[in-house]
């Protein structure tokens, strides 16, 4: 059982690291209802509260795998995700209910910290709001291309193919132009503050 769990977690991590978006959606879907039921037994909250916490958990997992912070898991991915969702609901001050029975996730939470530091952020700061506005000021194509290159870490060739650009140089030049534009907008925002 432990070997199967480890193998499953390994293949999931490998899939996410290679940018397999379908693997992320599958992960999101396969434990979602389980999480809602599990969370509803432990917290007072609405379905939307649990949905938000679940999304935070899945996205945090994805980001930590992509950044290399998670290379392997001691438990199943489910345990990690549920623990993060739990922490999110706690940090949102959802009222805790009395737990009638405990499971492996409660045990993992009691024994230690299966997820390390809380991997999610609080509400966006003023600076982050300005950065969000800066992104919105870009064209949709520039936004998408920059996200593909710097967030999803797609190669220049993949981007060239997706956007049907003539060659890799054109793709690189377009990305450079978009990044330069983004920096100009951010710089203007900073100058306006002074």
């Amino acid at each position: 059982m432990a070997k199967t769990t480890a193998h499953h977690a390994e293949s999931l991590i490998a899939a996410l690291r290679s940018g397999d978006a379908a693997a992320l959606e599958t992960l999101y879907g396969v434990y979602r209802e389980d999480f809602f039921r599990w969370a509803a037994r432990r917290f007072e909250g609405t379905r939307q509260d649990f949905e938000d916490a679940w999304q935070d958990a899945v996205i945090a997992f994805y980001q930590q795998v992509r950044s290399g912070k998670i290379e392997s898991l001691r438990h199943e991915a489910r345990v990690w995700l549920f623990a993060v969702g739990y922490k999110r609901l706690l940090s949102n001050h959802r009222k805790l209910k009395r737990i009638l029975w405990k499971d492996e996730i409660d045990d993992a939470l009691l024994k230690g910290n299966p997820v390390g530091e809380a991997p999610f952020e609080s509400a966006p700061t003023e600076q982050q709001q300005r950065l969000q506005s800066a992104m919105k000021a870009l064209s949709p194509q520039c936004r998408d291309m920059l996200v593909q290159r710097y967030y999803q870490e797609q190669s220049i060739e993949d981007i060239r193919q997706e956007w049907d650009l003539q060659n890799a140089n054109t793709a690189s030049a377009t990305l450079s132009r978009c990044l330069r534009r983004l920096k100009e907008i951010i710089q203007n925002t900073l100058n306006a503050r002074v």
Binding site: A21, L24, E25, Y28, G29, R32, E33, F36, R47, E51, Q55, V58, I59, Y62, Q63, P124, Q127, Q128, L131, Q132, A134, M135, L138, S139, P140, Q141, C142, R143, D144, M145, L146, V147, Y150, Y151, Q152, E162, W163, D164, T170, A173, T174, S176, R177, C178, L179, R181, L182, K183, I186, Q187
Partner: protein, 287 residues
């Protein structure tokens, strides 16, 4: 800022610098304020991109969640589904019981059902009726747009433009026909761009991006009739979302109000469309 500096800054943020190189990089930041500013700006740009990426991911997962909910409603919702036919049957039974058993004298002019939700209105409110002005929808399907459609088109249409379309500066000879088309489009010379399109090779003419820009140029010169087929079948293009929006505007321009409404509703319902809010505003104006 030189190209190699930009490349090094990118590697710094990817944690891809060797120890010595990183130490030299950080020393330079401490000594060179201009360089430090560039590094800071790059960091802020990466943060902006990260937040955008996360927002897109979140939207995608939300959409997935909705699909899952539609496929198998949550247990709590199943209870409500069972209640619906029960309530309907109950309302029907009450209404049946409240009707008179036999007509005594003239039939009442307006039967009033007792179901609490139904207003005491004449049958035409609950029975299907022919629309009062059957001629009106046909009248709307004119070849030229009515006043409101013209105004909405004029208010919302702008030939598509973004930084990725800006022509590259070539140092080596003449532009290709396709580059020439892009250049004319970029300069806003739409009639000339359309003429240049006619001179393209078939392979270029069939490219989705080129067809999309041609549709924009056609609309810019007022030719919605020819733009519509290009937008209805754009082919593979990175401007898919924009093409869907533009098609709605083209329908408006050509007076096809019903098609415009359907297309706008589709765009407005698409959480990932960059034109979602615009479509919602146009729909609001049309209603």
């Amino acid at each position: 800022m030189e190209e190699k500096d930009i490349e090094q800054i990118e590697r710094y943020f990817r944690h891809a610098l060797e120890e010595e190189e990183r130490a030299a990089f950080e020393r330079r930041m401490a000594e060179d304020a201009g360089f430090a500013r560039e590094v800071q700006l790059h960091g802020l740009a990466m943060e902006a991109i990260r937040m955008e990426g996360e927002a897109l991911l979140r939207a995608r997962l939300t959409q997935k969640g909705k699909q899952l909910d539609e496929q198998s409603p949550a247990p709590g919702r199943r209870k409500w589904l069972w209640a619906i036919p029960v309530v309907l049957l109950g309302a029907f039974a009450i209404w049946q019981l409240s009707r008179p058993l036999a007509p005594a004298g003239p039939a009442p002019a307006e039967p009033t059902p007792q179901a609490p939700a139904a207003p005491p209105a004449p049958p035409r409110d609950t029975l299907p009726q022919a629309p009062p002005s059957k001629e009106e929808p046909k009248a709307r399907e004119r070849t030229d747009a009515g006043g409101q459609e013209r105004e909405l088109f004029a208010a919302w249409f702008q030939p598509y433009r973004d930084d990725s379309l800006e022509p590259l500066v070539r140092g080596d000879g003449d532009a290709t026909p396709e580059e020439h088309f892009y250049e004319l489009y970029w300069k806003g010379q739409y009639r000339q761009a359309l003429a240049a399109f006619d001179n393209l090779e078939p392979e270029s003419k069939n490219k989705g991006d080129v067809r999309f820009l041609k549709a924009n140029a056609l609309l810019a010169v007022g030719n919605a009739r020819e733009a519509i087929p290009l937008l209805e079948s754009p082919g593979r293009t990175r401007f898919q979302a924009e093409a869907e929006w533009l098609l709605a505007l083209a329908y408006l321009k050509s007076g096809q109000r019903d098609k415009a409404l359907a297309q706008l509703n589709m765009v407005a319902a698409n959480a990932s469309s960059p034109r979602r809010e615009a479509a919602q505003q146009v729909l609001k104006a049309m209603n």
